[in-house]
């Protein structure tokens, strides 16, 4: 077997899954997906396509109509002008991450990755023969990646920088000013930025800023997004990657020979998601964001009130409170909370060693469950004092 694969540890999240899945009356704040079901009009479009017998492949890069809509979406929502030829529909944003890494990395190339961050970046870099270079993002800095820390990490072998904002698990975001600063750190280098913007619509203060919209950055940016979070379509496995043609052409080859194309049913459903979205000025997305925002306010207040200091997450749907005060490490905290109070949260260490001292709690769960979960966590924290 390939030693690179053998050496990659399994996702730290899995351990909890096995225990929690068997537990009765367990409230899970461990979920990384919306609690909303895909809106009915979108599901219906998928069903209709099956009834109509549209069960064939699409072109490798995906339905032209859908790519046009994705480009229009980036243009109208985030002010970035991509052409349909600069877009590939992928099997979730996850495939986009893999495509970008495989397209960019030669053996020994370094990739800068903020930490804590999503579990896939490190393994994808390693599988491509690259060397992940984690850069610690701290609560004091709002879990942003600072230009100084990036500058300090750049070496002649640095090939790419991953910018996953809004961030899973911290909820940190990068504003336009932050990204402009970041772009300055990249001047004089050939570093490509892989901007994972899957949580773009879940930004609670101001609107999301796409890295490709920063002056001079378009040519060196690979933008990744998808339908999972904004349209509650996780199980449909549909994302997209957008980049200037020289980069995109190479990714398309990998996609073509490994995936052929993304699910046709999902692509047709996504056409409805965006078409209806434009017709209604994305009312469903706004309603979802409003709902998440209330829950966000609630859980952040709750954590702070119970003495677990919680940075205000301005994006995604996670709270990332510090549990250092309890004296427990992240994994012990999560295991004991699960065993003693039947609440599942994810240890910060699942997102890299610098997640130690934190836990991730998803607030994409009904208020009823959030209230009960917070009550149990509070009981648990008080029992430790």
């Amino acid at each position: 077997m390939n030693p690179t694969v053998v050496d990659i540890p399994p996702s730290g999240i899995r351990k909890f899954f096995d225990i929690a899945a068997e537990m009765k009356d367990c409230i899970s704040l461990g979920v990384g997906e919306p609690d909303f079901v895909t809106p009915w009009n979108i599901r219906e479009a998928g069903i209709k396509s099956l009834k109509d017998g549209i069960t064939c492949y699409t072109s490798n890069s995906g339905l032209l109509e859908l790519r046009r809509l994705c480009c229009r979406y980036y243009s109208e929502r985030f002010g970035v002008e991509y052409a349909p030829e600069q877009c590939i529909m992928t099997v979730g944003a996850s495939e986009g991450i893999d495509l970008a890494m495989r397209m960019l990395i030669s053996s020994g190339d370094e990739v800068l990755i903020p930490e804590p961050s999503y579990v896939s970046y490190m393994p994808c870099v390693r599988l491509s023969g690259g060397i992940p270079v984690p850069i610690r993002a701290t609560a004091e800095n709002g879990f942003k990646l600072t230009a100084e820390t990036v500058r300090a990490a750049i070496t002649p072998r640095t090939k790419a920088l991953i910018l996953p904002f809004p961030n899973n698990p911290t909820g940190g975001i990068m504003t336009r000013e932050d990204l402009v600063e970041m772009s300055k750190a990249l001047e004089g280098t050939d570093i490509i930025v892989v901007s994972d913007e899957i949580y773009a619509e879940l930004t609670y203060r101001g609107t999301h800023c796409a890295f490709a919209s920063i002056p001079g950055m378009f040519e060196r940016t690979v933008t990744i997004n998808g339908f999972s979070k904004a349209f509650a379509m996780t199980g449909w496995r549909l994302g997209y990657v957008m980049a200037p043609e020289p980069l995109l052409k190479q990714m398309l080859k990998i996609h073509q020979f490994t995936m052929l194309c993304a699910s046709t049913t999902s692509q047709i459903a996504a056409v409805e998601a965006l078409t209806h979205g434009f017709e209604t000025d994305f009312a469903d997305v706004r309603a979802m964001r409003r709902e998440y925002n209330r829950r966000r306010n609630f859980v952040v207040r709750q954590f702070n009130d119970m003495g677990l200091s919680c940075f205000e997450p301005l994006g995604a749907f996670y709270a990332f409170p510090s549990i250092q005060k309890t004296g427990l490490d992240s994994e012990t905290f999560c295991t004991r909370l699960l065993m003693e109070k039947r609440v599942a949260v994810v240890p910060g260490t699942a997102f890299g060693p610098s997640g130690e001292g934190f836990v991730r709690a998803t607030y994409a769960t009904s208020m009823e469950k959030l209230i009960e979960a917070c009550r149990r966590i509070r009981e648990f924290v008080e029992s430790l004092a």
């Binding site: 996702s11 999240i13 899995r14 909890f16 899954f17 929690a20 899945a21 367990c26 899970s28 461990g30 979920v31 990384g32 997906e33 609690d35 079901v37 999503y118 579990v119 896939s120 899973n168 409003r290 209330r294 829950r295 306010n297 609630f298 207040r301 709750q302 599942a344 994810v346 699942a350 208020m367 009823e368 209230i371």
Partner: protein, 165 residues
């Protein structure tokens, strides 16, 4: 588009009217006092009228309730239009709702009763004979599949795995 404080509160209560003011305050990042004061204002001004329940009647032990939708055609009255007759219809305790409609009839009247006979009696003896009522058409509800956004029977609605990245 920012929504007003009142609309935010009404929206939360529409989903769960038992949500305590303290929780609403945390959801909206404000104080409990502010929420309580606003709810009181909404009640005082008769904007927030009642906190009620949604029940799956098929699962209750009590005698079944019959629901009927009745189309009513009327002759609008001089100077009062539809208001006078609407008020009269609305006064009956059997009437759960009374709406003025566009289309081929004037009122949609929702009536509840313990059995078919009582509802029929109400229509023939009370509603149809009202001054101004031209005709009625009664539709009995056979089964409720969805009421107030709640699909019945209310089964499993969360198919997510317990822990995902």
């Amino acid at each position: 588009m920012e929504r007003s404080f009142a609309m935010e509160i009404l929206d939360i209560l529409a989903q769960d009217s038992r949500t305590p003011a303290a929780i609403i305050a945390q959801m909206l990042n404000t104080s409990e006092e502010a929420v309580k004061a606003e709810i009181k204002r909404l009640e005082d001004e008769k904007i927030l009228l009642r906190y009620t329940t949604i029940i799956d009647e098929e699962k209750t032990e009590s005698e079944s309730t019959i629901h009927a939708l009745i189309e009513v055609k009327v002759t609008p009255q001089y100077r009062q239009g539809y208001d006078a007759i609407a008020e009269q219809i609305s006064r009956y305790p059997e009437v759960r709702a009374c709406y003025l409609m566009s289309g081929s009839y004037d009122f949609m009247v929702l009536v509840d009763g313990p059995n078919l006979r009582s509802v029929s009696q109400f229509v023939t003896e009370k509603l149809a004979v009202l001054n101004g009522v031209v005709s009625t058409g009664t539709h009995f509800v056979l089964r409720k599949y969805k009421d107030n956004h709640v699909v019945m029977p209310n089964g499993r609605d969360d198919y997510r795995q317990v822990v995902t990245p």
